[in-house]
C-alpha cells in the first residue's frame, strides 16, 4: 500500500518544494502519503456537518478540493465555498497551502486571489493540526472574522452592519456548480 501511495506523490513536490521547517528532511514521501490517507479516512468517517474535502484526482494525494458551508446563524448561512488544499512534501511539518476557489467576500480573505489570513495556516501552524481541524477553523472563521488584520479592509469596515455586508457578499458570491455542467 505504501509503495502504491508513494508513487502518487508529485515528483516535483518530493524534491523541489521549499525546504521549510526543521525536521523537513526526516519525513519521507511514504510517511506523508500515509498520514494523508489517514487524515482522509478520519475526515470521511467524522461526518462533521458542512465541511468536506477529497483528493482532486486519484493520481495525486497532495492536491485536495474542499467544500465549506457557511455556519448557521451567520451571514454565510446556506452558502457553499470551494477551497483548494495543496500539501507540501514535508507535511505536516509545514502547513498546507489553502485558498478559496469560490470568490468569498470576507475580512480575512483576499477577494481576488482567494488567499486566507489565518494564524494557524501561517506562524501558528503545528503538526498536530489536520485537514479536519483546518476546515473547522475556516468554517468558524467565516462567522467570526479577525477584523484586526484584514486582507479585505472594505469587508472589515462593514462587518458590523450585516445588512450591508450581506449585499456585498451576495454581489461577489457565485453558487458552486458541478464541474461537468460548468
Amino acid at each position: 500500500m505504501d509503495q502504491i501511495m508513494s508513487s502518487l506523490a508529485p515528483r516535483g513536490a518530493a524534491s523541489g518544494n521549499k525546504p521549510a521547517g526543521g525536521g523537513a528532511g526526516a519525513e519521507s514521501a511514504g510517511s506523508v502519503t500515509k498520514r494523508l490517507s489517514n487524515e482522509l479516512m478520519t475526515l470521511m468517517m467524522s461526518s462533521s456537518p458542512g465541511i468536506s474535502a477529497f483528493p482532486r484526482s486519484d493520481a495525486n494525494l497532495f492536491d485536495w478540493v474542499g467544500t465549506i458551508e457557511g455556519p448557521a446563524g451567520t451571514v454565510y448561512a446556506g452558502l457553499k465555498f470551494k477551497i483548494s488544499i495543496l500539501f507540501p512534501a514535508n507535511y505536516p511539518m509545514s502547513p498546507p497551502a489553502i485558498k478559496f476557489d469560490s470568490p468569498c467576500y470576507h475580512p480575512n480573505v483576499d477577494i481576488n486571489g482567494g488567499g486566507i489570513c489565518l494564524d494557524i495556516l501561517q506562524d501558528k501552524w503545528s503538526a498536530v493540526y489536520s485537514v479536519q481541524t483546518i476546515l473547522l477553523s475556516l468554517q468558524s472563521l467565516l462567522g467570526e472574522p479577525n477584523n484586526a488584520s484584514p486582507l479585505n479592509p472594505d469587508a472589515a469596515a462593514i462587518w458590523d452592519s450585516p445588512e450591508q455586508f450581506k449585499v456585498q457578499l451576495m454581489k461577489y458570491y457565485r453558487p458552486v456548480v458541478d464541474e461537468a455542467e460548468a
Binding site: S37, M44, F54, P55, D58, V65, E179, A180
Partner: protein, 779 residues
Amino acid sequence: MATDSLRIYTSAKWQKAFERLNGAEPGIQGLLSFSEAWQIASNFLYPRDINDPGSLKSQDMQRVRAAFDLVGKSRMLSMLLDKFLEDMRRQQYLVERDVHRYMAEYESAGKAEAIMQLIFRLVAWYNAWKPINELGPTILSAYTLAFQTHIFSIFPPSFSRGFKQLIASTFDLVSASSPPPWAIPRDLPPTEQPPRPDYMLWMSCETLGLLERYESLISSVCYEHIEAHVHETCAKKWDEPMLPKLRDWMTEKIVPWMIMPYARGARSADEARAMLQGVGSRFDYHVCKTLCDLRIQEIFDIIIDYPDSQSALQDLKVASSRPGLDDINVIVDRVRRRLQECLQRVDQRSQLVITLRKANKKRLLHPGADTKVILAQYVSIIRCLRIIDPPGVLLYKVADPIRKYLRGRADTIRCIVASLVGDGESGDSLVDENEPIQPLQQMQADDYTDPNWEPEPIDAGPDFRTNKPSDVISTLVSIYDSKDLFVKELQVLLTQRLLAVKDGNYERERRNIEILKIRFGEAALQVCEVMLRDMTDSRRIDQHVQAQKPMPLHPTIISKHFWPPLQTNSFTMPGQFREIQESYAREYHLFKPDKKLHWLSHLGTIKLEIELQDRTISEEVPPLEASIVELFSQKDTWTVDQLVTEFKSVEKTAILKALTTWVDLGVLKEEESDRYKLLEVAEAVPSRSKAPARSAPVVEETTHTLSAQQQQAEQMKVFWKFIEGMLTNLGTLPLARIQAMLKFAPGYDRTIEQLAEFMEAARREGLVQVKDGMWKLCR
C-alpha cells in the same frame, strides 16, 4: 606320401607323451608307476559319500603325496582335476539328497535351526571332498567354485527365506552366554569351544560363500532389525531424547554383531574399525532415517504434546538436519571418531513439510476445530519448528495454509485479541508468561552489514521472507496485513470488559493496556486510553454530582467519538426514571456546561423494590424491564401493542421477553393473549415502586458484537462516506473515476461491477442521481 609324414609325426608325438609319463625309467617301468600314482590320486580325491563310514579316507598320506607328486611331475594335474570335477558331478546327488532332506524339515517346522543344520552338513560335505592343500590354490578354488555353484543351483526358493530367518536369529545369538546346541556342528569336538556363540555359524556361511551371495539380504535383515527396534522403543516416547539411546544400542548390540559378517578377517581392533566404517555409517544413517520417519509420522501429535515433547523435536532436528557448513567438521571428524559417534544425517525436510501439511489439513483446518484450538496448535507449531529449523523455512512452508485458513475465519482476530489481553476464561493463554513483552516486529529487509549473515537455506522458496525469530504475538498479528484491525477489535473487546466492570476497579484493564502499548505503540492505543479515562472520569464526575445532589443514578459517561459503535436501540425511560435522568443531566450540565448527556437507557441495570399490596419484591433488572413495570404502576393493564407504541424503538420480542420476566417473578399475569395485568392479590393499587436505581451499563454477550454481515455493511458504509466525500467536492463523476478514487479507502477491493450495483442501490434510496453516466449527489 602324406601317410609317411603323418606316421612320423604321430610316432614323434607318441614318443613324447610316452616319455612324459615314463620319464627316464627303463622300459615301461615309468608308465606303470604313473598308472599306479594316478590310481591312488584319483581314488584319494574321489568324492565319497560321507554317510558311508566305510568310505572314509584311510590312505597312507605318504603314498598319496608321492602319487600326487608323480602326477604333477608328469604334468597331468589338470587331467586329474577334470576327472575329479567329473566325479563330483556324478556324486552330487548325495549332497542334493541332504539338501532336500533339511529343506523339507525346515519347510514343515519353519525353524531356522534346520537351515543351520543344513549349512553345517554342507560344510561337512565340502570339507570331505576338499582336495588337500598341497595341490595348490588353483585346484582348491576350482573345487570351491564348482561346489558352491552346485549347491546354489540346488537350493529351493524357500532357502533365502530360511536363511534370512537364520540371520535374524543371530542378533540374539551374539549376546548369548554360550551357543545353543543347534548353533554348533554335531561333529565339533567338545574341547574346541568357538570364540563367540555365533562364530561357527558365520564361519560356515563364509566357507560356503553364502555371505557374499546373500550380502544384500544380510544387510536388509539388519535394516529391518533396526527399524523394529526403533519403532518398538521410540514410538510415542517423546519425553526424552532417543537418538543417543539408539546410538548406545547400536554400539552395544549391532556393532558386536557386525564384526562377524563384516569384519571377520580383521586382525586388530583398528583393522576391524576400518572395515566396519562404510557399512557402519549406512546403518547409522538408517537409524537416523527410521527415527526421522517415525517422528515425522507422529509430528502432529508431538506438536500437540509440546512442550513435553521437546526431546523428540531435538532428535528430529539432529536426525533430519541437512549437511550445512558446520558439517564439514563432522565429516572430518567422522574419519577419526569411533563409528558409533558418526553423525549420519537424513534429508527429510520436504517429507516433514508434506506430512505436517497433510496432517494439519486433515486434523486441524476444518470447520469442526475451534479457532482457539487452531491458534494454540499454530503457536505450538511455531515453537516446535523453531527448534527443528531456526531459520524458519519449514515454518514458512507449513504455516502458510494455516495462516490462509485463519484469515478466512471470522473470529480469528477476536481470539488473538482475547489472548493478548489474557482473557481469563480461555484458560492457558497463547502467550508464554515468561516471554518478554516486546514491540511488534515488522518484516525487515536483510541487513547487509551483518557480519553473521547467512544465505537463505536452499529449500527456501522464492517467496520465502527471512523471518527473523520474532515473538509469537508478532507472528499472529502478521496473519493480517495491518494491525489496525487488531486495534479495532481491541477497542470492541475493551468496551465489553470496561462496561462489565462494576466495582470500579480498572487496574487490570490499565495493566493490559500498558502491555499492549508496548506491543502496538502508544499512538495506536490512544483511543483505548481515552476509553479508560472515561471510566475513571465517570466516577469522579458522579462523585461530584452526588455531592451536589444525591441521586440513585450512577451513570458511566463515555465519549461517543472514541468508543466503538454501541448498539443504538435505546428508548426513553418512562416516569420516575426519566425524572431522575433529567435531573442528573441538569446537575451534569452545571458541572460541564459545554457537554450534553445522551442516555443509552438500554444499557445498565436497575435495582428496584416493588411494593405491592401484600408483598415487596426486590429485584435487579435491565432497564427495559424496569421501564415496563413502571408503566404498570400508571395503569394496571397493558396490551403488548400498547407497549410497543410506548417504546417506539424497542422490538416487540424484547418487550415480550421483559414481560415474561415479570410474569415469572409473579408480578404480572397474562390475562388473555397479549394482554397483561398487574397481579395484586388484594386488588390494591401498588404503591409507587421505590427505586434505588443504579444504572451502569450491563453487557450481555451479544450486545456489542457485530456479525460478519453487519461488518460487511459497516464496511460498505465506509465506502459510501468516501463516495459521498468525492461527490461533494468534485461534483459529478463517472463510475470509472469513482472506482479509481476509491483506492483511497482502506481495504477497498470491490470490482467496478460491484460498485455499479452499489451505486444503483444508492440511487434507488434517493441518495444519488445519474445522468449520462455521470453520478452526482442528490440534495
